[in-house]
């Protein structure tokens, strides 16, 4: 048992310690030039205690802090009564998320990754303001409780990104890859970047009205974030979810099957246990359009008389990590692929939009399934891209508009954008409201 927890055990009824130590290196290029090297060593901890049936918490970054335990105990003096105990002893699923090769990466290795991207792209796009970055991290997370939970994970992550604004425009194309092992940009990814960048040389504004819309994996969050808000056990408990009382009903198109997939192999956000030390497991959330399950942490589970689903994570829309309160969140959401090539989906559209991002999502009423965003992506006419979208907004409600999905691609990509990393295919929605010309 960690000394911090040993100390807490002498003072309070129950205690839970979250301790994360990480080392990261980031190199960043701007405009094809190496701009900065960043190296960080971070130790952070949180402590939750239950004393006389009440809960209190304290957080520390670089924790050699006097008063850390005292702060948690003081919080418990004022805290609400709790109806659950901290996690007990458990068997955790095996998850291989450590690569010694990544752990040994140095800044010079990351510079090499960036240089290879730079060399390939500078030949074809010499006048583009290309930003490139590469990073690696090794970390060790320990969650222990006085109730017997003892979860430890040594993990690594390596990633790179590159992107550039279209000439004279505020938006552009951005591509990234990440994984447990060291990452190298392959030719197909670089070629796709060049194709997309060249698509954006012209701008195009569709007419106001309803049009078919393809959500690329990068834009899957427009559907997944409202869904997350809806399947959160907390929203069901507080009756703010539009999905309350809809378990077993059709909420999306039968072409959509969505998993909570925390053991996703090779994914840097994959987890064997959540931030409360509860084991994680793959779960069908939506199966062929039918709502199958809500997500719970221990607090909300206790309120709803159901066990935690292992989804108590320190995440919010705008942050994650030590200081964030625990609430039910996706770990690695995945949308099952279909059987069509995304290129064929584009070819089949008379007029429509290929969406790669949506700006201003968080300003909308997304917990109710709604979104109204500035559309970032491409305008399609007669099966071909005619230019990047300009002066265009799309809006809708996933529980109405995603009932009618015409196609799901067999190609998948990483989806993130407010979410932990998951995977998604290209999804063709029959029609969305478009505000353009």
């Amino acid at each position: 048992m960690h000394p911090l927890l040993e100390n807490a055990k002498r003072t309070v009824d129950q205690a839970e310690m979250y301790w994360n130590q990480s080392h990261s290196i980031v190199v960043r290029y701007e405009n094809y030039r190496l701009q900065q090297v960043t190296e960080n060593d971070v130790s952070e901890a949180s402590l939750r205690v239950i004393q006389n049936g009440k809960i209190g918490s304290a957080y520390a970054v670089f924790p050699n802090q006097e008063g850390f335990l005292d702060n948690a105990v003081t919080g418990a003096q004022y805290g609400d009564p709790v109806s659950y105990s901290f996690a007990g002893k458990a068997d955790y699923p095996k998850l291989d998320n450590y690569s010694e090769a990544t752990a040994q990466l140095k800044s010079s290795d990351l510079i090499e990754v960036c240089e290879s991207i730079k060399t390939k792209l500078q030949k074809q796009l010499p006048d583009v303001a290309l930003g490139i970055g590469a990073s690696c991290e090794r970390s060790e997370l320990t969650i222990q409780t006085t109730q017997g939970a003892n979860a430890t994970s040594k993990s690594t992550g390596a990633s790179f990104y590159f992107g550039a604004p279209f000439k004279g425009a505020g938006v552009g194309v951005f591509k990234s890859r990440s994984g447990i092992a060291p990452q190298v940009a392959d030719g197909a990814l670089l070629d796709e970047f060049i194709t997309w960048y060249n698509w954006g040389n012209q701008s195009s504004t569709p007419s106001t009205g309803r049009l078919p819309v393809i959500l690329a994996p990068e834009a899957a969050f427009l559907m997944m974030m409202p869904l997350l808000a809806g399947v959160s056990g907390e929203a069901a408990w507080k009756k703010t979810s539009p999905l309350t009382q809809r378990l077993g009903e059709k909420i999306l198109s039968d072409k959509l099957t969505i998993y909570e997939n925390p053991l996703l192999a090779g994914n840097t956000d994959a987890r064997a246990f959540d931030d409360e030390g509860v084991p994680c497991a793959k779960r069908a959330i939506v199966e062929r359009g039918i709502l199958k399950e809500f997500l719970f942490d221990q607090r909300v589970g206790a309120a709803m008389s159901t066990p935690s689903t292992g989804n108590g994570f320190k995440r919010t829309m705008f942050g994650s990590g030590n200081e964030t309160s625990i609430s039910p969140w996706f770990c690695c959401p995945t949308i099952e692929p279909g059987d069509t090539s995304w290129h064929d989906i584009v070819k089949g559209i008379k007029e429509g939009l290929l969406i790669t991002n949506g700006m201003g999502f968080h300003s909308g009423n997304f917990p109710q399934g709604q979104f109204a965003v500035q559309a970032v992506g491409f305008h399609i006419i007669n099966g071909a891209v005619v230019g990047r979208l300009d002066k265009t907004m799309i809006s809708g409600n996933i529980y109405q508009d995603c009932l009618d999905v015409a196609a799901v691609s067999r190609d998948v990509g990483l989806c993130s954008g407010f979410l932990p990393l998951g995977t998604a295919p290209y999804v063709l929605i029959d029609s969305l409201q478009v505000a353009g010309k």
Binding site: Q36, N71, T74, A169, S363, K391
Partner: protein, 459 residues
């Protein structure tokens, strides 16, 4: 500790180096509905070192002050590695050497207020909201951040300074049938505890709006003229223009750098925009930034013409423009980036009634609900709005997001009101090439303004 750190940065074989060491304390009290979800304290301490050497730059965060020396040495080695690869060298503009402390004495210091009083206050406002029968849940938060920082640099500056930010904010969630609406509230947002007291009527006004929204109609999609209230126009100028005035975003973007040369005309002569850290009692007010440069007033647009921008010492050197004291880091894990202090559209001479009367078919949009920007593209939401029909305010509308392009929207800003107001609670999320830094100390002010055309996303 100050002299040890000063010796470390001065002894590096660097063009320039600085080191910031912080001890931070946050208190967070949170209610969700009837449930007190959190009474939590966060303690943070550690250092951050930045080194410019051979025209390159490297940065590191660290925990143990005893290891500051070796970490600074390693950071210097990385900076040399970067510098040796660059044809175009990075350098910093010269800045006054400051050996002074900047400690804060609020009217009522939140650090001296008991946890019990803070908790009771939060519970009091939460209870008021829960009394309304249409309210299905709440989020009511007390949020206090205090920071004591030491800054030293290789020029000889040795500074100790404080930051304080305290506020109450939250969300009121109402429901009628299948319609669920959310309205935000916030007060405080500066160094003083006193403004958090006696705000019951402000909370009740927001409850009323959250209930009225249940019967409002969704906004229609299309392009419309709009009047923005001071909260909305403050977000507009922050998101759409302010971020493009932060020089670190322009530094490596040749096309926008070319478009935003000082002296170009961006708007009508009625448009004046300023960033001002020296205004007292606002969220983004401060004496000294996290690069050891004094906070100041920087005119950004003067009579419609681009007249200045916000800088770091690095960007000021590269652009050949004056220092502005805008480099700030939210905590020790973050490097300073260029950020607005208090951005302000200065008062014009139109009245709100003049603006409404000038519109046949449009919207009056009220209450900031966050926004996002990318280059010259911006999107932001309104908490609620009203149709404007034939020069008169009409029905209430909900679920409003709008977007536009900076340059055409500034030109389309045709009327500016005489009623400047600042939002009490600041906030801004920016990464600047690194992880997102959510900064509480960012103020936004404006009068009502009229924009002739923006795109509204709706049904």
């Amino acid at each position: 500790m100050k002299s040890t750190f000063a010796n470390i940065v001065s002894s590096l074989p660097a063009d320039y180096a600085d080191l910031r060491f912080e001890e931070n304390r946050k208190i967070r009290i949170g209610y969700e509905g009837k449930e007190l979800t959190e009474v939590a304290t966060t303690l943070t301490s550690g250092g951050h070192v930045r080194v410019y050497a051979h025209g390159g730059k490297a940065i590191s965060s660290f925990s143990d002050p005893g290891k500051a020396g070796p970490i600074a040495d390693a950071t210097c080695t990385s900076a040399i590695l970067v510098g040796n690869s660059r044809d175009k060298k990075l350098r910093v503009a010269s800045a006054p050497v400051i050996t002074e402390d900047f400690l804060i004495t609020p009217v009522r210091d939140p650090r001296t207020v008991s946890l019990k009083e803070k908790l009771d206050l939060t519970a009091h406002y939460n209870d008021i909201i829960l009394q309304n029968p249409h309210v299905i849940t709440t989020q009511t938060m007390y949020d206090e951040f205090t920071s004591r920082r030491i800054f030293v640099n290789s020029d000889g500056s040795i500074i100790e300074y404080e930051l304080i930010n305290v506020g109450v904010f939250g969300m009121i969630v109402t429901k009628k049938g299948s319609v669920v609406q959310r309205v935000r509230f916030a007060f405080g947002g500066n160094t003083d505890f006193s403004p958090l007291l006696g705000r019951e009527e402000d909370v009740r006004k927001q409850i009323t709006k959250a209930v009225e929204l249940l019967d409002a109609e969704p906004a229609k999609a299309g392009i419309f003229p709009v009047v923005l209230d001071p909260s909305e126009s403050g977000v507009f100028i922050h998101e759409a223009f302010g971020h493009l005035s932060e020089a670190d975003g322009l530094q490596n973007n040749p096309s926008f750098r070319a478009k935003l040369q000082l002296g170009i005309t961006l708007g009508k002569p009625i448009l004046n925009v300023t960033d001002d850290a020296t205004l007292p009692g606002l969220p983004g007010s401060y004496e000294i930034d996290d690069e050891g440069v004094r906070g100041m007033r920087t005119p950004l647009i003067t009579r419609g013409v681009l007249s200045g921008r916000m800088h770091s010492r690095e960007t000021a050197a590269e652009f050949g423009e004056p220092l502005s004291g805008n480099m700030r880091a939210v905590d020790v894990q973050c490097t300073p980036i260029v950020r607005m202090s208090n951005i302000l559209i200065e008062a014009g001479d139109s009245t709100f009634d003049d603006m409404v009367r000038s519109i046949d078919n449009g919207y009056y949009l009220v209450g900031a609900k966050g926004g996002q920007t990318s280059g010259d593209q911006f999107t932001f939401g309104a908490q609620w709005g009203y149709r404007i029909v034939n020069g008169q305010l009409g029905n209430m509308v909900r679920d409003i997001n709008m977007s536009g392009e900076l340059f055409s929207t500034l030109q389309a800003t045709s009327m500016i009101g005489d009623d400047v107001r600042f939002g009490e609670r600041g906030g801004c999320g920016k990464g600047g090439g690194g992880p997102m830094q959510m900064n509480r100390k960012s103020g936004k002010g404006s009068p009502h303004i009229k924009i002739d055309a923006v795109t509204i996303g709706g049904i």
